[in-house]
Symmetry: C2
Subunit: 254 residues, 2 copies
């Protein structure tokens, strides 16, 4: 099972503060039992993601947990009745009062059903709402690139559900060959992690799939998974958070 | 010699109208003597570009002429005292009163001096202010890509000044290897030409050159040339107009 917990807080910072993600990760790890935090620190593919979304005077602190054994630990912290606020001592605004909690769940069964449905749409909107980046041969790649996006999602999927990080290259090639970015609006960003700045991008792309229904279903499943798992690097430190949206025929801008 | 003529007109359309470029081309060709218009129609690499820039209630109709023999013909039309307005019968606003004309000139000598200067900066801002696109193996490519940008400019340069469209692949590879997009903000567009829509992009990129001074000078020259010649496809129909700006050390956002 995968779980997404959104803590909606009042935000008086009045501007986007990219550092909130890193500070929030620090705060969360500090709340968890030592042995859990240590295990998370040491795991190469993190079984959770963090992101912060600021809009309309609210800051949403979003945690997704991708593994069952971690869900209870995170629930104990974030869903505890005793938790009224998040305290980020290093950020400009120190205290974020929690006004609302939203909980969503995505099960493996939901994902299978996505795959076996007969009418998946073939056009998607993807919003990269936090800074997203890929690492290729040691270099950062900070443009949206379908191959890198799919490869990242396929690898994460296999790590979470199959305990290996193998990527089926034939399937990846097929996806790349049969899908296309049809429109986009993106910009580069520099995401601050400790003392360095990682080049990334934010923005939206629209993707069209002109493969058969099975491929469209697979893509749908992958993107749905991605809205929990994130895409690219440093998803546990606030980067690579995506939202996806099916675009049905007749939708405006569809 | 290359010449740029900007006709600044009042614009009451209140929104960006991508069709103005194509209409303006039609109008201009109609004003030129028949044999000149026919020769332009038939030339594969057009020795002129057209672009329209709308901002702050003004529309700028911009023509660059890249070949000496065409300059006089275009001057006769656009710099004639009798010309008070541009009439675009197919557009929403039919009549554009000319409030101001701006003329700029770039000579081969200016370009050589750019090349032989000793202190070219190594960072540039490039604005693609009209829809820009490339054609690669019959497919449109509508992301900013340094190789495609340089290749287009080198080819245009050789067509204009050397009468061949050869591109020095070693030099191109060197430029691509020694320069990098360091930040960007771009979005896709669909540029209307007659009944089709060509996928392109607009926006800005910043490019850094970490090659030696000679390479930096060459890049500087190429971009300066590009601000007259345009980049990519359909530059005679309103696409691919760029402006470049040297970014000196210490500049804000530099």
């Amino acid at each position: 099972m995968m779980k997404k917990i959104i803590l909606r807080c009042e935000d008086s910072t009045n501007k986007r503060d990219n550092k909130l993600g890193v500070y929030f990760q620090g705060w969360l790890l500090h709340q968890l039992p030592n042995e859990v935090a240590t295990a998370l620190h040491e795991s190469i593919i993190k079984p959770y993601t963090i992101s912060v979304k600021q809009k309309n005077g609210m800051a949403e602190f979003i945690v997704t947990v991708l593994k069952d054994d971690l869900i209870q630990e995170v629930d104990n912290v974030l869903l505890s009745d005793g938790l009224n606020a998040i305290y980020l001592t290093s950020s400009k605004q120190k205290e974020f009062m929690i006004k609302e909690r939203v909980v969503k769940v995505l099960t493996e069964k939901d994902l299978s059903q996505t795959f076996y449905q007969v009418d998946a749409v073939k056009k998607y909107g993807l919003e990269f709402y936090t800074s997203t980046s890929f690492k290729v041969d040691g270099e950062y790649h900070f443009f949206p690139d379908l191959r890198l996006i799919y490869q990242s999602l396929m690898r994460k999927y296999n790590v979470i559900f199959e305990n290996n990080n193998h990527v089926d290259q034939d399937l990846l090639n097929e996806l790349v060959a049969k899908t296309k970015i049809v429109s986009y609006r993106v910009q580069s960003t520099y995401y601050p992690i400790h003392k360095s700045f990682i080049p990334g991008f934010t923005g939206t792309i629209k993707v069209s799939c002109f493969g058969n229904q099975t491929l469209a279903n697979y893509l749908n499943m992958l993107l749905r998974f991605g809205s929990y798992a994130g895409v690219g690097i440093k998803t546990s430190m606030g980067m690579g958070a995506i939202e996806y949206q099916e675009i049905k025929k007749g939708d405006r801008h569809g």
